[in-house]
């Protein structure tokens, strides 16, 4: 087992190197650089060249990468070109905001998805089933951009129930309730597609389970339906759904950029988008590295968890 973990960690380091190189080269191959952005709209070519020198962008590309790598290995990810804030702190705080949003979206998706899917399975082929599946289909097909704006128009503009942008109110001093209010609409927007997927998976998984022989046996023994579903059927049905939820978490993190843009949620997606548009190389490199590290770490933890949960799985 230890050998397995060590091997995995070594492999992860290689992956992270690869990510940093690929991201760096991609940024360098897109035309334009941060010098144009910093120098401003009225700068002449000489002024832009001056800025390029001060940013170190006039060096050959491999030299630029090595310089970055040298500092990164010492823990210094540099400063954002636009905000002039240290990249590591900036990325961690923004990533934290995205994780909060993704976790909240996942919670929304899981709860509504499982409830809806179970309901549909238990009321198979009735109106309830069809309505639930239709809503799920619609949610699955709706682009998050449209859904977000629609929710804003209804709940912010129309009903004045929830705020339309930001993580906390610009006006007041924030606080828990204010924050939770700001979390609702973005979570629903981000989680909608996942909710739909989880609903459909739960429905079909529960249907499979309900045809198993042990369910028949439990019924023959006189177990009440509700107890049967809760204690036996649902739990077993949820195993494959959990796998889907895990995969969904990854896509939630990736898809957050659109939701963050609409709601001005200060997450890593929005920051990365801006960073790429402005060619903020330190920021994009740092963000890619942090995100890749977290993915690699989560994957390792999940694999270890599987082994722990299912004794039949053992790594060597």
């Amino acid at each position: 087992m230890t050998a397995f973990i060590v091997r995995r960690i070594l492999a992860s380091v290689v992956v992270l190197f690869g990510v940093s190189i690929v991201v760096f080269l991609t940024l360098k191959f897109i035309p334009g650089d941060a010098a144009y952005v910093l120098a401003g709209p009225n700068a002449t070519a000489q002024e832009i060249e001056l800025v390029r020198q001060s940013l170190g962008l006039d060096q050959p590309v491999p030299v630029q990468y090595i310089t970055w790598l040298g500092r990164a290995l010492r823990g210094d990810l540099g400063r954002s070109i636009e905000l002039h804030e240290p990249v590591l702190a900036l990325v961690l705080s923004r990533y934290g905001n995205t994780l909060i949003l993704a976790a909240s979206a996942m919670a929304f998706a899981s709860i509504t998805g499982v409830l809806a899917g179970a309901l549909a399975a238990l009321r198979l082929h009735t109106v309830v089933d069809r309505v639930v599946m239709l809503v799920a289909l619609t949610a699955n097909s709706t682009p998050s951009f449209w859904l977000g704006l629609a929710l804003i128009l209804v709940f912010s503009l129309g009903l004045h129930l929830l705020p339309s942008s930001g993580m906390v109110s610009a006006r007041g001093d924030g606080g828990g309730v204010d924050f939770l209010q700001h979390l609702v609409l973005p979570s629903v927007t981000l989680g909608a597609i996942s909710a739909a997927l989880i609903a459909r998976m739960t429905r079909s998984s529960l249907l499979e389970v309900l045809t198993q022989e042990y369910v028949l046996v439990a019924r023959a023994k006189g177990l009440r339906e509700r107890l049967l579903v809760r204690r036996h059927a649902l739990k077993n049905a949820l195993l494959p759904v959990l796998t889907v939820m895990g995969l969904q978490m990854g896509s939630l993190l990736g898809g957050a950029v659109i939701t963050e843009t609409i709601f001005t949620w200060p997450g890593i997606g929005l920051q990365l988008y801006r960073g790429i548009a402005l060619r903020d190389v330190p920021l994009v490199q740092g963000a890619a590295l942090v995100v890749a590290t977290s993915f690699v770490a989560i994957n390792l933890v999940v694999d270890l968890l599987y082994s722990y949960l299912d004794p039949r799985i053992r790594y060597s």
Partner: protein, 570 residues
Amino acid sequence: MRQPARAREFLKMPPMTRLTRMNRRLLLRMAAGVVSTVALSACTAPAPTAPTSSALQPASAPKPTDAAAPKTGGTLVVGLEAEPGTLDNSVGTGYHTSIIQRMVYQSLVGYDLTTTADVLPIKPVLAESWQLSPDGKVYTFKLRQGIKFHDGTAFDASAVKFNFERASDPNHPFFFDKGRGTSAQIFSLVDKMEAPDPTTFRITLKDPRAYFLALFDKVPMFVGSPAAIQKYGNDEFGNHPVGTGAFRFVSRESGSKITVERNPDYWGTPTYLDKVVFRGIAEPTARVVALQTGEVDFINDVAPDQIDALRANPDIVVSQAAIPHTWLINLNHRDKPFSDVRVRQAASLAINRDALTRDILKNTALSATQLEGPGGVAHDDSLPGWPYDPARAKQLLADAGYPGGFDTVFALPTAGSGMLDATRIAEYLQKNWSDVGIRAKLETQEWTSYVPYFFKGIPSDKGMYAMANVTGDGQDVEKLNAASFQPPNGFNVGWYQSDQVEQLLVQARSTADPAAAAKIYQQIEKLLNDDVARIYVLHSLQPKAFNKKVRGFVNPHSWAYTFNNVWVTT
């Protein structure tokens, strides 16, 4: 029991029957798609009725019936068009950031942003007066006495020298090279700077420049507290900006908001507002919604699509003002077909600017007549510009040897500084041109990719490059038209050259008197217009919108604006 039997039944069904059920699902899927498409198009339906002509007049003061006296106190929340960059006074990272910098820092002299005069006067700020030597090279500023920075340290000539050298001299201990781009434009003109005594500051230029004082309004010329710069260092001063302005910096929550508050020890007229909070909301629809829900009180840069909804809202005031902005097209003067002046004239005559500004831009812009927009020193209101005359355009094309028209390439960025919704505008132009036979292929690129491409100049196989001119200080006339500013040195990407214009440019540059220089620039504008050096399309009116509780806001003929005179009713 019902459910499990049905489930078992379903799963036991032969594949063909399951497929039939699948087709029903397919039908449902299609229906859902249709429903959401219909709903989506309903959401983007055109806004209510067109605005009246009063929308064109800049709303400079609150409505005449408002007799409320200014009251002190309250907080103003502003939605900016993007997250601000660093607040360091020697780095200019965008107009939206400079709005905040302008409130915290001040310069020696600056534009009076509280007036709606056609050309903003330059008024004394930290300097109470100045003198220009007869040869036009030496500016001697007499500084105000008794001014303190927000940290209590004294403002004097050595502080000014510290800041200017920080921005321009690589040997200065706190030289901040990040601001080099913008500061080089200014300090490359300077020969030396002296602070002979605490209230006198002297700048000697290498050559006279009529527009030099106007450059003091740019960010690198703002003065920050040397004590604070030394205390926080270049890395952190941007997070603790200390200036002499009417507002002082309170806090910044990165990605969320920036707060400034009234400076109680301000040397000038204290402001009415207690606090101003800035938030960057990049998504245009979200910015408008935030205004309508009351989450913000003031927004800048309203997109044409949303302006009608705001104009129709009785709680919102929409304010527009002509500013020195021109959306223009650079033409390839080196190669055919645009090397022929008749072709250039035809391309300009083919454009229906009035319809463009009215229908596509919903009256948030004016038809452009010249290089500098209203408010610029070279702007001449009497210049008529080119009218819409497609018949004459076709005739000119035939005269030039293109009776069947010709094909060309029009390169543009999708967005960018002053570019508005460039793709939309370009598509409209494309239609105008195709009506007279000019078949323009659009080549779009993202802004940061477009800029280096733009600076290489128009190659022989392309005809037109879009850009925006966002200055009005006269220096731009030179940068776009002088032969020395041809690529790779600058903005004259169309390889324009005219001996007459060159002579006048040299003359204007060396004239010390701004008024005389302005006259020469206007002469140049006329020549450029007759020669169709480039095609001017529109001048943006930079619409702002705010809650009616915001009073006293003056929308000047400038990119910059201030909240120093603003108060809020409850």
